[in-house]
Amino acid sequence: MSDSAALDGIEVEETMLVRVQREDFSLDEEINRVRNRSRRIGGIATFLGTARDWSEGRDVSHMVFDYYEGMAQKTLREIRTRALRDFDVLEALILHRYGEIAIGDNIVLVVVGAVHRADAFKACRWCIDELKQITPIWKCEHTPDGDVWVEQHP
């Protein structure tokens, strides 16, 4: 394999580490994507956000996510870059789904690999907290009282 081909392979792989996509994802595949990035990894922390049927005292039948294409991906890439720079971790993957999400289905996934678990846990929590703060993604919950656009999150 030529150097450029090898580099292309790395770039393709890195685009897979930050994604906004309509379709569901496989936890096993995404964890392995991180695991395979370094044989030095000894601990992998994950956060999986799923769609619940209850919010602020109301039933939720399903939800729809809107996002700003381009800016959302750019923001997630920046979060991953900062996680790799500021924490003692070896790899990070961030995925978020858009479109209609059924109750119980996957919404968002963060996977972080590190030499030791403590660093993986810390970086994983930071990534999901930062994602919720700065990523241009919007959630609309469908309830018996009407559609509700969620504006902030703890």
Partner: protein, 93 residues
């Protein structure tokens, strides 16, 4: 110049699911001038912008009131974000 301003989330719903606004601003104007132009077109959206409840992005970066605009810029109005899977404040439409 005429600029197309993308809208998202609750704001898009409030505008009847229109994906963008078309706004006339003069060349070299700044974000604060765009906000006033939007306020003239749609006072409800303008007030959300003046209150910083909705923010402006230019070329995928959060903009400030004095950010300069050109006709080539990609401009968007961003209501508060709510990615992830938990939430508190909400806006009914």
């Amino acid at each position: 110049m005429t600029v197309t301003v993308k809208v998202f989330g609750a704001l898009k719903a409030r505008l009847g699911d229109r994906p963008a606004l078309t706004v006339q601003v003069e060349q070299g104007r700044r974000v604060r001038d765009l906000i006033m132009a939007i306020h003239t077109l749609n006072p409800e959206v303008g007030t959300l912008l003046l209150d910083k409840h909705v923010i402006v992005s230019v070329n995928h970066d959060i903009a400030h009131d004095d950010t300069e605009l050109t006709s080539a810029d990609e401009i968007a109005l961003l209501p508060p974000f709510s990615g992830g899977s938990c939430a508190s404040r909400r806006m009914y439409v």
